[in-house]
Amino acid sequence: MSTDLDALYQDIILDHYKNPHHKGLRDPFESEVHHVNPTCGDEVTLRVHLSDGPDGAVVQDVSYDSVGCSISQASASVLTDLVIGKPVDEAMTIHQTFLELMQGKGQVEPDEDVLEDGIAFAGVAKFPARVKCALLSWMAWKDATTQAQSEGAPS
């Protein structure tokens, strides 16, 4: 059973948990959301700052404050690594890829070119109770980004 546990708690996840990237709330931002996992109480407050790019909006910054388990914290850290600096369209594609991996019940082969450290979460997909932990900040980011775009922010 410890092999399954090790599949869940990859070193990459534990590293991000101990030393989260881009953590803390920063200005400027166009939208801020607060998402909770009602079953366990994990929470994230997440801000998105978009800027104009040559081919549409770019994710200039994602900042967040959160409390929760190693999976939810590491997932927020990996999210920021993957989407900051990317055009919104591309970031949304990465979001979709991560979502498919998480909802794939462990049957989806992760694409390292797209997900980078995010492939470490492949093991999480085998633990249905933990999928929501991994998705908490990703859902918050999508929500915040959609709001930022619809509120007439740079596009």
Binding site: M1, S2, D4, L5, L8, Y9, L14, T39, C40, G41, D42, E43, V67, G68, C69, S70, I71, S72, F127, R130, C133
Partner: protein, 411 residues
Amino acid sequence: MEGLLPDLDVIRKDFPILERTLAGGVPLVYLDSANTSQKPQVVIDTMVDHLERHNANIARAMHQLGAEATEAYEGARDQVAGFLNASSRNEVVFTKNATEALNLLARTIELGPGDNVVITEMEHHSNIVSWQLACERSGAELRWFGLTDDGRLDMGNADQLVDEHTKVVAFTWVSNMLGTINPVTDLVARAKAVGAYSVIDASQAAPQLPVDVQATGCDFLVFTGHKVTGPTGIGVLWGREQLLNELPPFHGGGEMIETVTMARSTYAKAPHRFEAGTPPIVEAVGLGAAVDYLRHIGLDAIHRHEQAITAYALEGLQSVPGLTVLGPLDAADRGGAISFELDGVHPHDIAQVLDSRGVAVRAGHHCAKPAHARFGVQSSTRMSSYLYTTPAEIDALVESLHHARSYFKVG
């Protein structure tokens, strides 16, 4: 160890699920009984037998099976009345669960502007939100007892909280998070002194303490079937017969009426007044078998067992570096649920590591977010024992917590 049930090995054999192993062949160490208890063979067999041989709708089927099913369902009401030492079987109303029983009261007790309802900060969400909704609807004020640092009710301002405008004092007998056993008699007396209804949530008490509704002096008491070794889908509202008959109906439908015309209806007396529609029949029958099983072992003996296990667990848990127990540290006045924090490891992660070793606990806010907020924590890990829990299982928990610390490289 003193206080343990003398036939613990035999009792464990009554619960077939305790024999099973989990992934990797590890044995089950079930320490989540405050969440739901496991079921003895007699409950399983009683329910199977009812479905195989006696199934029919109750009270309306004019045939032999209907008579047998009605007898079984109403027999369960007698069994629950005995379990609670109710003075009349008419005082036992079957509901879906304790939550529905509390909502029934919050929906039917008349409240208005100027009235207040007093609850406590250690309630399960079901005994908070149902009264919040009632107060929002009626304009009544919601008040609550705060908690002391060691997890007991702060009675310091009790005289100000419960006053002549108080209509309801609703509180848990045993906290599902802190384990605290509350001063039931004192709280009931305070309600009575101002003419308020007293409502006891006995969801955690009924499994592990002798519950005598007449001795408590309360007006209403609720509990749920699945925590007293019965099935899910069945709960109980007990109320004084006269008070139940004074309350307006909750759900309208079949079986709760005297007569119906297109213009108006008149209503049956309790308990049927509150049992609209086809009730959970086999679940009630299973609950009847469950409370008989507990009475056969003896609630006093079960309580002593829980106290012995709880004392042993409190001692073991405190041997884990960085572990903080939330709630009273004296087993004598607490129930068998112990919530704790472990420095540097989130409850979710603790529960996951424990699960990989077969140890089942609960992690999260246990439907008691305000009580967690009171102690400045977002969530906790909770172990909860029951009549089938052994000291060896507590050892397995403590050993697994040491392992969790090393797995997450804490300390």
